[in-house]
Symmetry: C2
């Protein structure tokens, strides 16, 4: 008698849709859906593979002692900060993520934000609402400097796109690189303060790790140009939001476009909602039409690799908290459709 098929558990949300297109996995495994921490606890004892579709859920940690047969977790997000905890990090369970799926969408989103600032679109829309015809001068984006914090697949996609629009680009990564084909000069995160003053746009596209948490506080803002804008498409907690509020209110920096926050959804009473020069968007920069099938397809491909005993795509270094890329690697081949 052949062994029973492995159990693949999908951690989804009771309210949201389930991942589409898992039929190829269903032919090779028993798929169970866990829609709550309680049902995850029940399913986990038999689970060999966990597909975390609801990547905002942090319930795995609470039920970790039940994960006796768990060998591999795939998470449908690029950041693994919500998922990763010390017991998982020190275990032999493999963690893979959705690196690559969001690169193009986020890069376009960031370039759009840069152009919206440079061309005064926010003010234009406010004036339009008042039927006010008020001519203003715009800024050239060409020749302005973008400092990209985070040299992973997303940071490099941003670098390529804003450079193609004529911007100068520099990068900040865990370790310095003499030359990166997408980011040019890359300085180590410890030298951030030395390069912040060159940037017209500081773009955060880093994972949330112990090294990046709170990286942007009052001392970082103090080193930025007064005309600089901050764009955060990484994780909210990389920025000290109280310090950012202070920097914006005191005109220490000129503006911010924030797609991520330390608490999401951003609380209704939070002062960032209506601070002049601030754009608030609801953690959507990477979520293009078709993202759900693309995220599923990546898991399906990885599952087929798993069954064939082949190396998995996007294995997270659990000590670093992200998928380490070869220096200078210009993308990981996982472009969205």
């Amino acid at each position: 008698m052949p062994p029973p098929p492995p159990v693949v558990t999908v951690l989804a949300s009771a309210r949201g849709p389930r991942p589409p297109g898992l039929e190829p996995v269903a032919r090779l495994a028993t798929i169970r859906y866990a829609l709550s921490a309680k049902s995850l606890a029940r399913a986990l004892t038999e689970t060999e593979v966990l597909f975390i579709w609801n990547f905002r859920s942090a319930s795995l940690r609470d039920v970790w002692p039940q994960a006796r047969r768990l060998r591999w977790i795939h998470v449908a997000s690029a950041g693994v900060d919500t998922i990763l905890f010390p017991e998982l990090a020190s275990s032999s369970v493999i963690l893979t993520n959705a690196r690559g799926v969001f690169d193009q969408a986020i890069a376009e989103y960031v370039l759009g934000l840069v152009l919206a600032f440079a061309k005064g679109f926010w003010e234009t829309l406010d004036l339009q609402r008042r039927r006010a015809w008020r001519h203003r001068e715009t800024e050239h984006v060409r020749g302005q400097t973008a400092l990209i914090v985070g040299a992973g697949a997303i940071g490099r996609a941003i670098g390529r796109l804003v450079r193609s629009a004529g911007m100068r680009v520099a990068g900040v990564a865990r370790t310095a690189r003499a030359f990166d084909p997408d980011l040019g000069r890359v300085v180590a995160v410890g030298d951030l303060g030395a390069v912040l003053g060159e940037a017209d746009y500081v773009i955060i596209a880093a994972p949330l790790t112990s090294e990046t948490r709170g990286l942007f506080g009052a001392s970082a803002f103090a080193r930025m140009k007064r005309t600089a804008r901050l764009i955060n498409v990484g994780r909210g907690a990389i920025v000290d939001e109280a310090a950012l509020l202070g920097a914006l209110r005191s005109k220490r920096i000129a503006g911010a476009a924030l797609d991520v926050f330390s608490v999401e959804p951003l609380p209704t009473r939070h002062p960032l909602w209506d601070l002049p020069g601030v754009l608030v968007s609801p953690h959507m920069s990477g979520d293009f039409v078709g993202w759900a099938p693309a995220l599923s397809a990546l898991f399906v491909e990885n599952y087929q690799r798993w069954r064939r005993g082949e190396p998995l795509l996007n294995v997270v270094d659990k000590a670093l908290g992200y998928v380490p890329g070869a220096a200078g690697e210009s993308n990981d081949g996982r472009r969205p459709p």
Copy 2:
């Protein structure tokens, strides 16, 4: 006794600033300022060179019989539709314009508008004003098709930039071209209807001429995709605004970003101001910080060429209504600083 220095008259606005940096001209000529039609009439009898700084003024036509000594007009705008009239067109007076100064700024503005549509920025800002956190999916710009109407310096700069952001590009010009390095396939304006249906973004960057006036009417909108957006940075009268209102209200097309209008400023009661899916901006797409010095510098350079008897830059073909470019010319070398 040497001949008296030639009279250069600057037609400016009584309310607005005068052109900066004309000292090199002042050393070679007598500069007079005309701030009204009346003072233009007085100055014109002695004027050899007219620099139309207030390019919205149409007063030259009224005082044309006084232009007995006029040999050359330079206008500080790319479009000459306001300036050009039959008596000027049939005269021997040379007309030059500011072709090239606005290219980069307008191209960036257009790419910003495309990204703002694709990423839902207008809705994001409206939601922010209500402190509403509402996640939405965005569109990839890469792979979408931009049809650029107008294959002059501005149209080609737009083509280069949106192509570098991953869009497919096609062009519409007075005459077809098998291949344009910036626009790819270029069809003749008479074949516009055959290609409109391919475009996700229809971008008008053409001069206003007898061929383009009213080019976009109900029949053009009927051929566009229902998901298409119209961007007009050319001239308002190229679009039949009543037909556009109808196409937008009936959802025949998905949206429009308009920087130019048949009447400017757009009248306060005009329904375009608050139609959903429409962005109204006050004819500013080309007006980057530094545009005034750049416009002056171009006139100064042309004046020096004039005094040396050299060919002038940007000579308008007064029958066509624009500066004819060599097919495939990728720019005219007059990039703004």
